[in-house]
């Protein structure tokens, strides 16, 4: 790959390797959509199988879910602002917004874990029924992705602090922003079909 930089493009698209990586990540997001679709299919098929255990109505609380959703929505917004600042070559603003994004993500994880622990105390573990198995694995996979994103984000922050904003670090931030927005999209579907779907009666 010739490593000349096409300076007419935004920083993260300038080297050819960057363009390939970003394109490859979009393809990977296609695969992730198939992965979460299968988890949703499993949840929908098993959502009625409560086997005598607590059902959606007994467990879900509107307040908790709204907090988690707002947290993730705002984090998606601040992540957009981080990329916006990056495009303006404003490293400090980008880092600030990005750290806020990760903190909001951590907040989301905190509330989600808190919600899970409440369910376990009410006796609803993933061993209780097929519905709960499906619920915990779907939410757990999304939560694991968010946690992985936060760790990955911390690594990237260290790299930017050390190497500054250059075509390589900016492409990595652009990719993690795609990842973060994608997780927010997945959460929108969880919020809609799992929580709202479960609370309707």
């Amino acid at each position: 790959m010739s490593d000349h930089l096409d300076t007419s493009l935004p920083l993260e698209y300038q080297s050819e390797q960057s363009r390939l990586n970003i394109f490859g990540f979009w393809i990977f997001l296609g695969a992730e959509i198939a992965l979460f679709a299968t988890l949703f299919a499993t949840y929908f098929v098993l959502s009625g199988m409560t086997a005598g255990g607590p059902s959606q109505l007994d467990l879900f609380k509107e307040k908790d879910v709204m907090i988690e959703t707002i947290l993730l929505l705002v984090s998606s917004f601040t992540c957009g602002l981080a990329i916006f600042s990056m495009r303006n070559h404003n490293k400090n603003a980008m880092l600030a917004w990005f750290i806020i994004t990760l903190l909001l993500g951590a907040g989301f994880i905190y509330f989600e874990l808190h919600e899970f622990i409440d369910y376990v105390h009410e006796g609803a573990t993933m061993q209780t029924s097929a519905f709960l198995s499906g619920f915990f694995v779907l939410l757990g996979t999304h939560g694991a992705h968010v946690t992985l994103g936060i760790l990955w984000g911390i690594l990237l922050i260290i790299q930017v602090v050390r190497n500054g904003l250059n075509p390589v670090t900016s492409r990595k931030f652009f990719i993690i922003s795609l990842y973060w927005h994608f997780l927010d999209v997945v959460w929108i579907f969880i919020f809609t079909f799992v929580y709202l779907g479960g609370l309707i009666q």
Binding site: F23, A34, F44, S177, V185
Partner: protein, 95 residues
């Protein structure tokens, strides 16, 4: 592709407010409206897909790079596959 935005991220703010509005609207329709179940499910389903589309175009700059055609094609095809898996599984497993 535009290089260096204007000073003020208007696109992002509109996007954020839109997604907030759609989320709250979905919550209200689902929890307070008392509509029949299938009606609610379809409304909040459409809202979810609209919000997803909005995220793709406003926040994820899907249209931007020179291979945007393939990226959008890839996402559309993956949605078709996702629907096949979800609706296919439900249809097969319930009879």
């Amino acid at each position: 592709m535009e290089h260096g935005h204007t000073k003020y991220p208007i696109g992002h703010i509109i996007g954020f407010l839109l997604s907030l509005a759609m989320t709250i609207l979905a919550a209200i329709v689902a929890l307070r409206s008392g509509l029949p179940k299938p009606a609610i499910m379809s409304i909040i389903g459409v809202l979810a897909f609209m919000q997803a589309g909005m995220q793709l175009f406003m926040f994820m700059h899907i249209k931007e790079s020179d291979n945007s055609a393939v990226q959008i094609g890839n996402i559309i095809y993956s949605i078709i596959i996702a629907l096949t898996i979800v609706l296919g599984s439900i249809w097969v497993m319930h009879n």
